[in-house]
């Protein structure tokens, strides 16, 4: 009884705060998704029209799938780039592996916005990469192709996420019992066979975690497309932002947000089935 009271008094304030400033706004968004408008009498009219037009608007769907495809591309490239990094650190870097892993993570500790900003400067049409290539004589005139495109968004976000994707893979590889690899060798496995049949399967939960580490946050991305994406690099998040800041169609924006929220929560649920919590947060604390 005593314990229960202590537990409740400790838990009360953080729970109340989370309820009022996190769950309540999301709940209100749910209510707004049924509103006919946000001003005047339309504010008090409730309708399913927003859902209907969301489901029939092919522009929304296109952008939703395009965003998903961009996120998928980013996550696949990041996983492919991160795997050899983690593999090198775990199996070849010896005692320095944690230090070297930290070295990879440190750039990710600086401001996210500013790292994206740095890429805007690098990729810009009068930017660093173009001027470097010009002054080296590699190209004859500045190419505007680098920035304001889908590939600029992909390059920038791969840069941002590679270290985070490497982390769970590093943890998963680190937990593999070396005796298994020795056993495989004793039984006549060539090194690449041992990799394919022992190391890779055992590290897959880490790869899955890393994949989702990049996929889930990039799905809701809107700042990077704003900075380097241009028209063809727009993502679903930009559409939501537009509904609230420019089109001022909050009810429609709410429907779109809820759709994305459902998608994200489903993905998180899948992630927690695939990988244990220690796969997700382990790694540097060994």
């Amino acid at each position: 009884m005593e314990n229960r009271r202590r537990f409740a008094s400790l838990m009360g304030p953080p729970s109340l705060y989370l309820f009022l400033l996190f769950l309540l706004p999301l709940g209100l968004m749910f209510v707004y998704s049924f509103r006919a408008g946000i001003t005047g009498p339309a504010h008090d009219v409730f309708t399913l029209d927003n859902y209907r037009s969301f489901l029939t608007n092919s522009h929304f769907h296109r952008l939703f799938w395009r965003s998903a495809l961009i996120s998928l591309t980013i996550s696949v490239i990041s996983s492919l780039l991160a795997y050899p990094l983690a593999y090198y650190l775990v199996f070849q870097a010896g005692r320095n592996r944690v230090t070297l892993m930290t070295l990879l993570i440190i750039p990710a500790w600086t401001s996210y916005l500013l790292r994206v900003f740095a890429w805007k400067l690098i990729l810009g049409s009068s930017g660093l990469l173009n001027s470097l290539l010009l002054s080296l004589g590699v190209i004859e005139k500045a190419s505007p192709m680098l920035i304001y495109s889908r590939s600029a968004v992909i390059v920038t976000l791969v840069y941002v996420w590679v270290p985070f994707v490497a982390l769970p893979i590093f943890a998963a590889l680190g937990r593999i019992d070396r005796n298994l690899l020795e056993a495989a060798a004793d039984l006549g496995c060539k090194p690449w066979e041992a990799f394919l049949r022992v190391t890779l399967p055992l590290s897959l939960p880490g790869v899955a975690a890393g994949f989702f580490f990049a996929f889930i946050p990039t799905l809701g991305e809107f700042v990077t497309p704003l900075l380097v994406g241009g028209a063809s690099g727009q993502m679903y998040g930009n559409l939501i932002q537009d509904q609230f800041m420019r089109a001022l169609n909050w009810p429609m924006g709410s429907v779109m947000s809820l759709a994305m929220l459902v998608a994200v929560i489903t993905l998180v649920f899948i992630l927690t089935r695939l990988a244990s919590v220690s796969d997700l947060v382990g790694g540097l604390n060994e």
Binding site: P14, P25, L28, M29, L103, R115, L134, G253
Partner: protein, 266 residues
């Protein structure tokens, strides 16, 4: 162990990725000292004028003030709430625990654009104008999971019989928490505070929806990108922010490890 093979394919690849990871940051810092209004190669010469411009810019100083204020306030509240939550979930295995954990971890995965617009709806509904204060309230939410994680991993590291000992010696439960638990956790508390501070200081997405006219530093920086002539000043600002965040984070990581080391021995 291939310790002596420094130039294996693996190490060359690792080195290459490292160079690519650090290069954009280095370029930003190098160009903040470049004596030219345009950001192009070749470099023109050394100057400190862009840093001087930062110092003279009143709008920027106001944005800095806003950022420091909400950064300080939100991380203080997040650390306090995170401490309470962490003690509750580590020390008591009572129902309600897993629901609390799930809800408090949700801000880690929810897209900030969604959280941002939902807060816009909330402040609109209660009739509160958009402000830096509103952004500060929001930053507490996104900081709580980090504070919880850091503090609870410290709490797991020492046994609760220290609290019991204090209570046997006559302290009340709350007295034991204040005099025993909190001091033992203090490196973790400071680490949590600093991490939350950098989260708030750096946060653009949510703030962009609800700060209104009280620009924070990231919002101010973003708004200046429209003016090409101010680019060198923005680069100098970016260089300063990057260096400061990195230094604070390095210190935080060091603190976190110091705070946890007794746990490893025991």
């Amino acid at each position: 162990m291939n310790k002596h093979r420094i130039f294996s394919p693996g190490s060359i690849y690792f080195l290459l990725v490292c160079v690519l990871l650090y290069l954009p940051i280095l370029l930003l810092i190098i160009f903040s000292f470049n004596d030219s209004t345009r950001l192009v190669f070749p470099l023109k010469g050394f100057t400190l004028q862009w840093y001087g411009k930062l110092y003279e810019n009143r709008e920027l100083l106001k944005a800095l003030g806003n950022s420091l204020m909400i950064g300080f306030g939100s991380s203080l509240i997040a650390t306090i709430l995170g401490t309470m939550g962490a003690i509750a979930i580590v020390r008591f295995k009572l129902p309600g625990r897993s629901v609390f954990l799930a809800v408090s971890a949700l801000p880690l995965v929810i897209p900030y654009v969604i959280f941002g617009v939902s807060l816009l709806i909330l402040i609109n509904e209660v009739g509160m104008p958009p402000s830096a204060f509103a952004a500060g309230l929001a930053h507490v939410i996104i900081s709580i999971p980090y504070a919880l994680l850091i503090i609870s991993s410290r709490l797991v590291g020492f046994p609760d019989n220290l609290e019991e000992a204090a209570m046997d010696l006559g302290a009340s439960y709350w007295g034991a928490l204040l005099k025993v638990t909190i001091p033992i956790c203090s490196p973790a508390l400071l680490a949590a505070f600093l991490l939350c501070f950098t989260i708030s200081f750096d946060e653009y997405a949510i703030a962009s929806f609800i700060v209104g006219t009280d620009a924070t530093l990231p919002v101010y920086l973003f708004s200046q990108l429209r003016f090409p002539t101010r680019l060198p000043m923005v680069v100098a600002l970016a260089a300063v922010l990057m260096t400061v965040t990195m230094a604070v984070m390095l210190f935080t990581e060091w603190l976190r490890r110091v705070g946890q080391s007794p746990a490893k021995k025991g």
